[in-house]
């Protein structure tokens, strides 16, 4: 049992335990060391900021995904919602239909609705969220493509790109980094210090027990998917700002990348056990890999190969950790 400390512990097993316990940080540190020794520019502050900037929208989607996966669900549609957001916003402001702020609010409401739709159909229709969001992933992408007939829509507001994409606070920190850190802090609070986060963890851990304890499972699930829509909205705004345009094809890998980040961070795909800090670590791992491999000039073939191996490694360590805990 966990409570009884084993008196005869060799230093070696303790060391292994520590490595496995802090696997996310360990993997990250190992990557930093490897890449820095191969390409010293990797550790350059500007590159680190660039890593965090390029991670920002994946991290934000991943934070939303942490709630969903902890709940025992999955949301494959975040990338499509993000594309819809970029396209919708660009079209509203381009046609001069609306000033930026009402346009942004309108698109945010739309994104919330798309998330709500996922949750509502999944809960009320009693359909696996995997299936629902697999379908809506196509539906929402189809919406974005239909609205634009496939054309990228330039964003005509000059300050938009600065505010959400390429601007820098104090001329140093890219705005997406700031935004993602704020979202991170809010998510951490929501996850660990509010009823909502507690319900999410309880339902993910044992829906039956949560039901007997009087928690409204349907409501919490729908709320979580709606929230995921909000995260996808922020993510989509950043993507659009980075690209200076609403791209109907934006964010195709967003769902899978953010799921990878969440899993790397130790959140269990079976639900109940999740970690916001872990998601940050997991997304950093992916971002560090992307940056390091780009610096090394690796071809895409090698990049995905290495990424896949790191995910397997992390999950193996995860299992080792869980079996040790028992």
């Amino acid at each position: 049992m966990q409570t009884q400390a084993n008196p005869v512990q060799t230093p070696k097993t303790t060391f292994m335990k520590l490595i496995i316990k802090y696997r996310t940080i360990m993997i990250l540190l190992v990557l930093v060391v490897i890449f820095t020794s191969l390409k010293p520019v990797f550790i350059h502050p500007s590159n680190l900021l660039s890593i965090m900037k390029n991670m920002s929208y994946v991290l934000i989607a991943g934070l939303g995904m942490t709630f969903i996966i902890t709940l025992g669900g999955l949301d494959l549609s975040v990338g499509s919602i993000a594309a819809f957001v970029g396209v919708g916003f660009a079209m509203l402001v381009r046609g001069g239909l609306m000033p930026a702020i009402p346009a942004g609010l309108l698109v945010m409401l739309a994104a919330l609705f798309l998330g709500f739709f996922n949750g509502f159909v999944s809960v009320k229709g009693k359909i696996e969220p995997f299936l629902v969001t697999l379908a809506t992933m196509n539906i929402f992408r189809g919406l974005a493509l239909t609205l634009t007939t496939g054309r990228p829509v330039p964003i005509v507001i000059p300050y938009f790109a600065n505010l959400f994409g390429n601007g820098r606070v104090f001329g140093i920190i890219p705005t997406p980094v700031i935004i993602s850190m704020v979202v991170f802090a809010v998510s951490w609070f929501l996850f660990t210090h509010t009823k909502f986060g507690f319900y999410v963890r309880s339902i993910g851990g044992n829906p039956e027990a949560a039901r007997v304890a009087g928690i409204d499972i349907s409501l919490v699930k729908i709320a979580a998917y709606t929230l995921s829509g909000l995260y996808a909205f922020i993510s989509g705004l950043i993507l659009a700002a980075l690209m200076n345009s609403g791209l109907p094809g934006a964010g195709t890998d967003l769902a899978l990348d953010s799921i990878s980040g969440v899993i790397l961070g130790g959140t269990a795909i079976s639900g109940g056990v999740g970690s916001i800090w872990g998601t940050l670590g997991g997304c950093l791992i992916i971002a560090a890999l992307n940056s390091g491999m780009a610096l090394l000039g690796a071809q895409f073939h090698v990049q995905i190969l290495v990424k896949g191996l790191v995910i397997i490694l992390a999950v193996l360590m995860d299992n080792a950790f869980k079996s040790r805990q028992k």
């Binding site: 309880s202 039901r211 928690i215």
Partner: protein, 501 residues
């Protein structure tokens, strides 16, 4: 080997689980081609014995199992099948989307050479087996999904005899089939017997056993009481043998004044599952519900707590009519439910102790949904102390706790909102004696505070000593309510086992 020889002999079989002796020195024989009934109340050790015979458990060293004259040790269920012992479980283990024939040959694939399926051979084997059982109306090419439960049972039996089973174990085979189908099953069993197959038949239904068994072995508390010839005993003899223990009053309930009616149930029904249930529970009373496995006591509790639709009848809480649609409404009406299966519905195992204890506290309205964990931890600590939950720290994950401590955590979460009615489903299942006594004390304290308690229990001594009154159920019907003065184990068992008129 002559017909009268023993196909199975058990010598001094024991089985110990951590903290529990499930079987103690059981020795018995099963003869070739006999129907041997295994009888005992809940927890008497029948399931453990079945699991040993079917290879799921290994007996403690020292005992001996002899099948057809040869000593055997099973390492896995497959070894048992190889030794021609087949078990037909209460929950059938067929593949629903495969055909009857495919299911029958599934465990015999090594007999068939080559890579391809041999559909015609499969069908022929299945058809012959079904014919032998006199069940020509089942088509071997039907999907199992489309069969009734009784027909699926026949397929299981066909599966066993095509593997040349010498012993067939049947665990409560009639618990979920109609009387008509049960009669047919008896015919099949007689057929098996005629073919020299021994049947070990486990059932609570005394009248069924009386009709089919050659000999009867009664277990009680893991010990074999006696093996008798069916013709030598009456149903009442069997009841006495099953119960036959000194009832020492080990769990006295605190003497508290019984107050007004809190919960009143009138002619309650839920679909086909429950019907005609009426009772009242008073302030400070512990109302026990007894019955055998399959008597649908848990289903009744679920109906009370809004987890099962009520199709007929009424529930009154403090004289107000109340029709709960979900647990949330039940909780709003100050009801609490400590469920039977802690792991399935009582606790979130991956969460820490304090979060489980605060499962309801956390639902109180707060500003922006903020949870003050340090405050919540304090209240968890309070419960931990008052209930004597033994943990190293309040953040410990619940899954690492012992059964008794888990049960206290599952109970603790209900205490802060001082419910009017607490429903306990098997409150002491799987926990040790010390923790049991503590749970009874807590229940007594709750009653003293004026809480009405409904308790389902399968342990007769517990039921009789803790409950003020006992309702006995059988297959979703109410069989009677016994007052404290009249309650004896025999009374409960006979109400629970006697044939429904």
């Amino acid at each position: 080997m002559t017909l009268s020889e023993n196909i199975l002999e058990l010598r001094n079989i024991s089985k110990t689980f951590p903290g529990v002796v499930a079987l103690k020195n059981v020795s018995m024989e099963v003869r070739n081609g006999e129907v041997h009934a295994l009888l005992g109340e809940n927890g008497a050790g029948k399931s453990t014995l079945i699991k040993i015979l079917s290879g799921y458990h290994q007996p403690d060293p020292g005992g001996e199992m002899i099948v057809a004259g040869k000593a055997v040790t099973y390492k896995s269920p497959k070894d048992a099948i190889d030794a021609s012992i087949h078990t037909i479980y209460q929950e059938l283990t067929l593949c629903p989307d495969m055909t009857v024939a495919e299911n029958i040959v599934l465990d015999k694939q090594s007999q068939f050479k080559g890579f391809l399926q041999r559909k015609n051979e499969y069908t022929a084997i299945a058809a012959k087996a079904l014919k032998d059982l006199g069940q020509n109306e089942i088509n071997p090419n039907w999907k199992v999904r489309d069969l009734s439960i009784a027909q699926q049972q026949v397929v299981e039996i066909a599966k066993a005899i095509t593997s040349n089973a010498k012993i067939v174990l049947m665990d409560e085979p009639t618990s979920s089939i109609s009387q008509n189908d049960a009669d047919k099953l008896m015919d099949i069993i007689r057929g098996l017997k005629a073919h020299g197959v021994a049947v070990i038949y486990i059932s609570h239904r005394l009248h069924e056993i009386g009709g089919i068994a050659d000999r009867i072995t009664v277990l009680r508390d893991g010990v074999l009481v006696s093996t008798v010839n069916n013709s030598d005993v009456t149903e009442n003899d069997l009841i006495t043998m099953m119960v036959g223990r000194e009832l020492t009053n080990v769990y006295p309930k605190r003497d508290v004044p019984i107050g007004d009616v809190v919960l009143k149930v009138e002619n309650l029904a839920s679909g086909e599952i429950l019907s005609g249930i009426s009772f009242e529970v008073h302030k400070g009373e512990i109302f026990g519900i007894g019955g055998l496995v399959g008597s649908r006591r848990t289903e009744l509790l679920e109906a009370l707590f809004g987890m099962r639709p009520i199709t007929e009848g009424k529930i009154f809480l403090n004289a107000e009519e109340f029709n709960p649609e979900n647990p949330r409404q039940a909780i709003k009406h100050k009801m609490a439910f400590v469920t039977e299966d802690r792991k399935k519905s009582g606790l979130v195992l991956c969460l820490p102790v304090h979060e489980n204890i605060n499962m309801l506290n956390a639902q109180k309205p707060t500003f922006l949904g903020y949870l003050n964990w340090s405050k919540l931890k304090e209240s968890a600590n309070r419960h931990q102390k008052s209930l004597n939950i033994r943990i190293s720290r309040i953040e410990q994950v619940v899954s690492s706790l012992s059964g008794g401590n888990q049960q206290k955590v599952a109970l603790a979460k209900w205490l802060d909102f001082s419910p009017d009615v607490i429903i306990f489903d098997e409150p002491t299942r799987g926990i040790d004696i010390g923790a049991k006594t503590e749970i009874y004390t807590i229940m007594g304290d709750l009653a003293a505070r004026g809480t009405a308690i409904v308790m389902v229990s399968s342990e007769l001594p517990e039921l009789i000593s803790v409950a003020d009154r006992i309702m006995v159920m059988q297959e979703g019907h109410m069989k009677g309510i016994i007052s404290k003065e009249d309650s004896t184990q025999e009374r409960v068992i006979s109400l629970a086992t006697q044939k429904t008129p």
